[in-house]
């Protein structure tokens, strides 16, 4: 079981256009919809905000990990967005974010243990400063994937 199995270049987007948290989340949600990971953008984004209300998802070092745990999820995965400019976000270190890691998870976890295990391995990587540094400098999906290798 390897982390890269959970990474799908189709739902990685560098040079995000959005300049606010709302715009960026919507942008990523649209990419997810296009690739059949979710069934509804508005409903999915609403569920992300339900988790945002519980506490900061900006973990410092320019990284945010919003959680899309939602009934609108068809397929577990992780959308990754990279921006060139800092986006204002609620973070542990008070800085903005440049790397947005959106966890995409459905309500039924019994049948998804393998994927959730992969997500946990992926999350561990985010605890690693070197990975994060490479990630926020990535210019395309390939460089994002390489950051997690």
């Amino acid at each position: 079981m390897e982390v890269k199995e959970i990474i799908d270049p189709k739902i990685i987007k560098t040079q995000l256009l959005g300049t606010t948290k709302a715009e960026v989340l919507e942008e990523l949600a649209n990419v997810l919809l296009k690739n059949d990971y979710i069934s509804d953008v508005a409903g999915f984004v609403k569920d992300i905000y339900a988790r945002e209300a519980q506490g900061q998802t900006g973990i410092g070092n320019y990284i945010a990990i919003p959680h899309g745990k939602s009934t609108f999820v068809n397929k577990i995965g992780v959308a990754i967005g990279v921006t060139e400019q800092e986006i204002p976000w609620e973070t542990l270190d008070g800085k903005g974010v440049k790397g947005i890691i959106l966890f995409v998870v459905g309500p039924d976890n019994e049948s998804a243990q393998n994927h959730l295990k992969l997500l946990s391995l992926f999350a561990r990587k985010l605890g690693n400063d070197e990975v994060v540094e490479h990630l926020i400098q990535a210019k395309d999906a390939q460089q994002v994937v390489a950051a997690f290798a």
């Binding site: 988790r51 973990i59 999350a123």
Partner: protein
């Protein structure tokens, strides 16, 4: 120094494992032995053995929720913090653990 820990966050998908990784890296960097159990959506992983717990100088609980098996740590030195503290300042947390071990004799 020997450290054992447990990480557990509200949703059990991300913070738990980031905290685990950060704590392990920080402890190893400072020359300590560490094992961190995770309690997440996928259940308990990297479970601590009774021997590891017995041998540990201190227990670090990086948790946002009630964990299972907390009674295993009765009588041990314990530091409890929210996962975000382990994520934000792992090095400081390990320093604090050393301080506690030095200052607090086991009774």
């Amino acid at each position: 120094m020997k450290i054992v820990g447990v990480a557990a966050c509200t949703v059990g998908i991300a913070h738990t494992y980031i905290a685990q990784e950060k704590l392990e890296n920080a402890a190893k960097k400072a020359g300590h032995e560490i094992q961190v159990e995770t309690q997440g959506t996928i259940g308990i992983e990297n479970a601590l053995t009774p021997e590891q717990i017995a041998a540990a100088d201190i227990v670090i609980l990086a948790i946002d929720v009630k964990i299972s098996g907390r009674e295993r740590f009765e009588g041990k030195r314990i530091i409890q913090v929210p996962t975000e503290v382990a994520v934000k300042s792992p090095n400081k947390l390990i320093e604090k653990a050393v301080e506690v071990v030095e200052q607090q004799p086991i009774v």
